[in-house]
Amino acid sequence: MPVSNSISFYNCQSIDVKQIPVVHINKFRDSVIEAVASGQRIASLFAAPSGSDMFCLYAVLADDNSGKLSVLSSEVSDKYSSLTPDCTQAHLFEREIAEQWAITPQGHPWLKPIRFHASYIKGRDAWGRKNGEQIVPSVMDFFKVEGEQIHEVAVGPVHAGVIEPGHFRFQCHGENVLNLEISLGFQHRGIERALIGGPDKKTLYYMQTVAGDTTIGHTTAYCHLIESLSGSRVPSGVQSLRGIALELERLANHTGDLGALAGDIGYLPTSSFCGRIRGDFLNLTALICGNRFGRGLVSPGGVGFDISPRISDILAEKLTRLKKDVEVAAKLLWSTPSVLARFEDTGVVPPQTCRELGLVGVPARACGAEIDCRFNFPAGIYSFAQIPVSSWHTGDVFARAYVRWLEIQRSIAFILDQIKTCPQVQIKTNIKLPAPDKFCVSLVEGWRGEICHVGITDSNGSLYHYKITDPSFHNWTGLAMAMGNQQISDFPLCNKSFNLSYCGHDL
């Protein structure tokens, strides 16, 4: 269903900024709420400055059924009527807008900072904090439950494992979690602001570290975007290699996750096998480009390295062997009753909640939602070589683990297929500069889920605004919801089953 007052386009299709309808905020609000109610998802919702003290709100909506994206915009100054009460998906985006540009979404039920930085415009602040006032992460009012038997558990930002920082606040009744609130922002580096005026020499390096474990995903999204903005085409061999790298990244992380899930429940065999196999998958990426995380592999206009026939033979041979190994490790999980007892019915996200929050990636597919950018919004190699959507319907830890296993199998099949057919061509083409006054959305299905990059160029063709939405941004609230009325001892397991990025969220 087309969104009213909007313009539709495909993934990675550049449009003129002038073509984007600018409507009154009430119409904007109604259109977005109506579109989301009809089953579309908010891929991104952000504000960009437009002249003195005025801002342009952009809403990018994704229609999974038609494979089309739509965008609409509206001019606001320092406040507008919040969408969140009628459209839950907007809640974190609106908090982000308030924090970045000091635009207050009036009527937002839970308006608090999310990354704890000063507003981008000096002297303006949505919470009336003074200029130069120190902002300490996670210092805010948390949702509180009161009562004689209620106790509060605060976890983090420093954790027992070697992981990123994040703060989790539980309100518990005995072992039961009544509410979990997650407060992040410790990793905020200001990546989006650093991209303004680009692309320049540093841009690609920022993209590689948006989320270190999703290097290929984010760099691919960025490269698609720049190639589209500049109207360049890349050879199919390049697209194929990018696809191979993206699926290798998925393989390594999914396998690592299965191992970590097994480790959390104290199931040693899969834990140890998968830990090793994950390293082997990472080494395959290193075989192609010399870096286990694929740094330097994907760049605008091409790829940094080619696969020689010798390397592609090694790749195919090692992958065939790893396929057997990972099969043994995963099947151990599905055939051990004590593992299934632990996974099943733990951390259930109902499909309704999944829709309302606009979850993406593995957690969404684990609720039975057929959401996969590779299938719904294909770009690059996925326009030619389709991967079926892997989903499961139970919404619990088991489903999230099982979807990973399904995807592992399909990714291996995809890579083996691509290695066979991958044509050897020039690996690098010179691309033109981005065209002026263009707007482009690039969606890539990273291993966590939908990565959304939005780029807007100014009249010189430089990036005038850049918005990154990591799948974690959508999904962190899903984790909080999955913990409702669960045992607090199940939190580590639920957390691992989502395995979200802290730095991807914090940017």
Binding site: V153, A160, D264, I265, G266, L268, P269, T336, S338, I488
Partner: protein
């Protein structure tokens, strides 16, 4: 005779940390790793003893006295348990009750010192520990009662010395049940999989480990050593019931008992390698199941 009695205690105190080494080595083999040295716990204890301890300002004397009580209790308990035909150092009528409640005392202080830190994690661990031990206690006591009824003695030393392998012919079914019940108690009390995961680093899921998170240096050494002795003693009870080898030759009996202890450690390692932890909600069901097994055994013997 007194030398034999002391030998029993010396073996328990010297060999206790070895059990954990064997369990860990078994798990390592299953995981395809080389694993830590068999004597790792000895090294750890020695290392910790030479370190200083860190005390939080919010803790009181309870936090410091807890590890001492824990170790003392383990030593007293070691004096009560016969091993491989060797009688215990101390024995009197009804010492099995003392044995069970010595660990209750130790647990009481562990819980107090966990609460003393004021940490929400340790508080949760304490509440879990208390809940689960309440359920494992009847399994152990009723199981021992069944054996006491069978042998007609209520002193551990007399009870165990009167058992021999012929019990499997006379009261096999009852002994199978008691064996399983005490195995579950063994796993629970020593915080092993499937009840607890001694290797996890996730505070939210821990039971026993989380209560001692704040201890360091010699205090932690005492706690670790006390826990190792506890594991040895419960293991000694288990093999004393399941494989009571009493040939009359002291050397042979001790060797057999040692061998069975090693086998037990390997079995525990295999259990830990082949199954996942239970959901905390399901642990009480397992423990009630253990109690039911003990009751059934008692019924079979009373019949």
């Amino acid at each position: 005779m007194i030398i034999l009695k002391l030998l029993n205690m010396v073996i328990a105190l010297a060999a206790a940390p070895l059990l954990l080494g064997i369990i860990n080595r078994t798990k390592a083999v299953f995981a395809g790793r080389t694993g830590q040295p068999l004597l790792q716990l000895y090294y750890d204890i020695w290392k910790l003893l030479r370190k200083g301890a860190v005390y939080s300002r919010s803790t009181s004397w309870i936090f410091r006295v807890g590890p001492v009580i824990g170790l003392s209790v383990a030593l007293i308990a070691a004096a009560l348990i016969p091993f491989g035909g060797l009688p215990a150092v101390i024995s009197f009528k009804g010492d099995l009750i003392l044995f069970a409640y010595l660990f209750g005392l130790s647990r009481f202080f562990t819980v107090l010192m966990a609460m003393d830190t004021g940490s929400s994690f340790e508080g949760m661990g304490a509440s879990r520990e208390v809940t689960f031990s309440t359920l494992s206690e009847p399994a152990l006591l009723i199981g021992l009662a069944a054996i006491a009824k069978y042998t007609g003695y209520i002193s551990l030393s007399q009870m165990f010395s009167s058992l021999n392998l012929s019990v499997w012919l006379n009261a096999g079914p009852a002994f199978v049940l008691v064996g399983f019940a005490i195995l579950i108690v063994f796993l629970t009390e020593n915080s092993r999989i499937p009840i607890d995961d001694p290797n996890t680093h996730l505070e939210l899921t821990m039971i026993h480990e989380v209560m001692i998170l704040d201890h360091s240096g010699p205090d932690l050494a005492m706690i670790l050593y006390g826990a190792a002795i506890k594991m040895w003693l419960l293991g000694a009870i288990l093999i004393g019931i399941v494989v009571p080898v009493h040939s009359g030759n002291a050397l042979f009996d001790i060797s057999a008992a040692m061998l069975f202890m090693i086998l037990l450690a390997i079995v525990i390692g295999v259990i830990e390698s082949s199954m996942a932890r239970l959901k905390l909600l399901h642990v009480p069901q397992l423990l009630i199941g253990a109690t039911t097994l003990s009751i059934l055994a008692l019924v079979l013997i009373l019949r």
